[in-house]
Symmetry: C2
Subunit: 159 residues, 2 copies
Amino acid sequence: MTKGTQAVDLLDDAGIRPTKARALVLAAIMEAGRPLSHPALAALLPELDRVTVFRSLKALKASGLLHGIQGLDGLLRYVANPASRKGCPGKHPHFLCLECGAMTCLPEQRMPHVRVPEGSEVVGKQFLVYGLCPLCSAKNQKSGNPADLATRKSASAEK
Amino acid sequence: MTKGTQAVDLLDDAGIRPTKARALVLAAIMEAGRPLSHPALAALLPELDRVTVFRSLKALKASGLLHGIQGLDGLLRYVANPASRKGCPGKHPHFLCLECGAMTCLPEQRMPHVRVPEGSEVVGKQFLVYGLCPLCSAKNQKSGNPADLATRKSASAEK
DNA sequence: GACATAGTGCAATCCGGTTGCATTTTCGGA
DNA sequence: TCCGAAAATGCAACCGGATTGCACTATGTC
């Protein structure tokens, strides 16, 4: 289990207890390589209680190993922070597929600057681009389904 | 009730039945002048059932009078679309105060362009800037409270 | 190895969103 | 003005994700 031990190292480095649950959660997220919601993770790790998954996510996030992105569906998704960018979330936009619910990072792009009202204090930003991923776009093209994408509840498979 | 009748006109124009509930909901949102969540609206309009509020919001959104923005807390908030921009949501960023939960529009700014993976289809974008609003920032300055802003659950009053 | 502390699992709760269904309102036509 | 179809509303109930309390277990220290 290379990934697992690697995850344990990261936990150690981050200064939190390297427990089995946290290692599994972190490994799963890193392996996925894209933002995963709490339910998706819980499904991916049936050997863990969903509450444990939830609390592990909280701990990992607090320690700076993960950051969360809110989807259009109200589901919070988590991605691993690359070591170099630890503790600096919100540094790039994300793309959410309305069809399959999958979320991907657009890491090579910087967050645009925004002017805020005088006196405001900016803590972070979140830029979400939504639509159809290449796969679903292709699928939709064939089966001719120009439906109410923006309205539809993130339907199938992957959360 | 000037606001109310004005709302009725808007409903008529939008081509949906101008019912009391819809007029009240729309008037409340326009009066607020900033994005309100469904729970906030339900609290603001105790004479209406929360389901009715919910369905009115759906109808108003479908007719292009409103658009919704997802907050960091997973709560969907609604704002009135100015007549000129009807049916064109997602045209500007929003600011969310982590302290009081109030959300404001930053309408004078355009959505930045983002490159997406080949084959993707962009339906819309959502840009959320979060932090402290001028009021809360000032309050925090005094009472010295440099706490876990990003973690905190949108605490008090306004949703 | 023993102990204090932190993490885990389970059950239960909270809350926003959503649906089914019976009743009421709206609106076009008689 | 009245009538009936269609749409909207209120109520109760349900669903699913988030969160908490508490007893039990694993972790790390001395």
